[in-house]
């Protein structure tokens, strides 16, 4: 990549230093917005840029901001830094190395919806990052970029970090709000959505770190400039977190629409030991397994193309599975994760993940029969469409796609004898 928009520290190593960041046009967007733009104008620019949420759902960011209920005050911004999806580690790199661009994004969002307080909800394990951000926020206060009466306009803004404590579900925006309110991190009913009923019941915008990090450049350089990146419907750049069976795992900032092949073989350096690629999980553990055939490898990674090969782009946490990996083992891993992280609020997810765990364990240990595999599929199907939030719905993606697309792996696990027995 010739130019970085988000991982700018890779080009400007000291961008985490406020002086360096400001030398590189840092906070000009914020200054411009606060001093010369109406809040709605900021929202309009973001809307026009085609920026979509990078946390996974891909909801148009500007549209979300425009939904904010202007009849209820105060408004809040909550930055979602609860990066917990297995295979995702992009927000962490941004916050560690390019913190000001992220913070400026938060501040722009706050200005756009006229919030005076913004919280950055970090997963509890990001204890050091929270301390790091706190120092950066203090610097911004000293520099007059945060606080009361900013640039003499009367607008005031404060940022606070808030640490979670080890609950994947808090990445779900309403669970995060509950958690921030000091309650169990269990998702709320939706509707109402946070822009009308969010933190403390007040209108709130919740955006992912990466999403917000895009905003300063969009405001500074304009929507049209941003649309120059990516595809028609998936504008902009995306950080792809590449992990699993690949030679060079890591974050790769690429335009949306880059193919899997390019990511894996050009950037990621291919599969270790020259082994064959077997499957791709494009959205972390929540993802369906894509059979890594030629067609799949040539699929552009954007919000529209990935579904065509039977998965979602989500947070673009691409986990590479090579031929040495057994799919029943992999499924057992993901189900253990979801079972551990299920909040327990709704029945299908709480009981279903627990039941699936028993089944995947039996299958993985080779103690199962084909009936168990079929039962697993039944249970997973039974969960679908009935959960309160996306966690439960996502927990079955790998299971169903795994059984459908890698049937031979399961057959090998349960042995041939039972197969014959269950033949009609």
């Amino acid at each position: 990549m010739s130019e970085y928009l988000l991982l700018r520290h890779r080009q400007i190593p000291d961008i985490g230093n406020l002086t360096v960041y400001r030398q590189n046009e840092g906070f000009q967007a914020f200054h411009k917005a606060v001093t010369s733009m109406k809040p709605e104008e900021v929202t309009e620019v973001v809307k026009a840029s085609g920026l979509r949420g990078r946390g996974g759902a891909g909801f148009p960011t500007g549209l979300k901001w425009s939904f904010i209920d202007k009849n209820k005050w105060p408004h809040y911004v909550v930055a979602n830094a609860d990066e917990s999806e297995p295979g995702t580690f992009k927000d962490r790199e941004i916050m560690e190395n390019n913190p000001f661009q992220f913070l400026e994004g938060v501040m722009l969002c706050a200005y756009a919806i006229q919030a005076n307080v913004a919280y950055i909800y970090l997963r509890g394990e990001f204890w050091q990052i929270a301390a790091h951000l706190d120092r950066k926020i203090a610097e911004l206060h000293s520099a007059g970029l945060l606080g009361d009466n900013l640039f003499g306009t009367g607008y005031s803004l404060r940022l606070y970090t808030h640490l979670g404590a080890g609950a994947y579900i808090c990445g779900e925006e309403t669970a995060m709000l509950e958690s921030l309110e000091g309650k169990l991190g269990q998702p709320r009913l939706r509707p109402p959505f946070p822009p009308s009923f969010g933190l403390y019941g007040m209108p709130t915008v919740v955006n992912n770190v990466e999403t917000l990090t895009n905003v300063p450049l969009i405001i500074e350089k304009g929507a049209a400039w941003y649309r120059g990146y990516g595809t028609e419907k998936s504008a902009g750049v995306k950080i792809f977190s590449l992990s699993g069976c690949v030679n060079k795992p890591g974050n790769y900032e690429l335009p949306l629409g880059t193919t899997f092949r390019e990511l894996i073989y050009e950037h990621g350096g291919g599969i270790p030991g020259g082994r064959q690629i077997k499957a791709i999980m494009p959205a972390g553990a929540s993802s369906s397994l894509i059979v890594a055939n030629e067609q799949a490898l040539d699929t552009p990674m954007d919000y529209e193309s990935v579904p065509a090969v039977g998965a979602q782009l989500g947070s673009a946490s691409v986990i590479i599975i090579d031929e040495s990996v057994d799919i029943p083992w992999l499924i057992n891993k993901t189900i253990h994760f979801f079972k551990h992280e299920s909040c327990g609020k709704c029945t299908p997810c709480r009981e279903g993940s627990y039941w699936m765990m028993h089944l995947t364990e039996r299958i993985d240990k080779g103690k199962a029969t084909w009936k168990d595999v079929e039962l697993l599929k039944d249970v997973a199907t039974q969960i679908r469409g009935k959960c309160l939030c996306a966690l439960g719905e996502f927990s079955i993606e790998a299971v169903l796609s795994g059984i459908d697309r890698f049937r031979q792996d399961f057959e090998a696990r349960v042995g041939a004898r039972e197969m014959i027995e269950t033949q009609p």
């Binding site: 295979g87 927000d91 509890g124 394990e125 795992p249």
Partner: protein, 174 residues
């Protein structure tokens, strides 16, 4: 008498200042971290103290402790070494790493070394999938990541922890 409120009055004020005055309950998570830093786990006394500070019941505080996996209601080793064995890490050998590490320490996963210094556990994804095998070390001093580990490097770290040497990782955050 509220022990925490006495000992950490400034810190508690700073925490409470983050949230609207009528939403004190939001401070429960940071206060629990404070309590855990104090005792290594959240004691029942601390739950009562926090409940009193925030005007909620001890049960409501306990619910938070129970729900979130980073709060502990029981003591363990001084240092909790938590190895991520989730899918991306497991694909890069985290499970073997954990097994070997435990073997070297002579304990099983979830157990504490006889000297009470180190507890080894496995955890779910820590957002460091590209740098596996990795683990975090949790203690009263805070929480730090240790990435791209080998059993040797981990053992060396454990040795230095046991000796009381301050542990800092390459990121250098205190």
């Amino acid at each position: 008498m509220n022990h925490l409120a006495e000992k950490y009055s400034e810190e508690i004020q700073a925490i409470l200042a983050k949230y609207p005055a009528d939403q004190k309950r939001s401070a429960v998570m940071p206060l629990l971290y404070l309590a855990q830093r104090e005792s290594g786990y959240v004691t029942k006394t601390a739950m009562n103290e926090i409940a009193e500070l925030l005007g909620i019941t001890a049960t409501e505080v306990a619910s938070i402790v129970g729900f979130y996996s980073l709060y502990y209601d029981k003591p363990a080793g001084k240092y909790r070494i938590q190895v991520c064995t989730d899918l991306p890490c497991a694909l890069r050998g985290a499970e073997e790493f954990l097994e070997k590490l435990c073997e070297n320490l002579g304990i099983r996963v979830g157990e504490t070394t006889p000297d009470g210094m180190v507890t080894v556990e496995h955890v779910m994804c820590l957002a460091a999938c590209d740098k596996a095998p990795m683990f975090q070390v949790q203690s009263g001093e805070g929480l730090s990541y240790h990435e791209n580990q080998t059993v040797e490097s981990a053992m060396a770290l454990i040795q230095s922890l046991k000796k009381g040497a301050s542990h800092s990782n390459k990121d250098g955050h205190p």
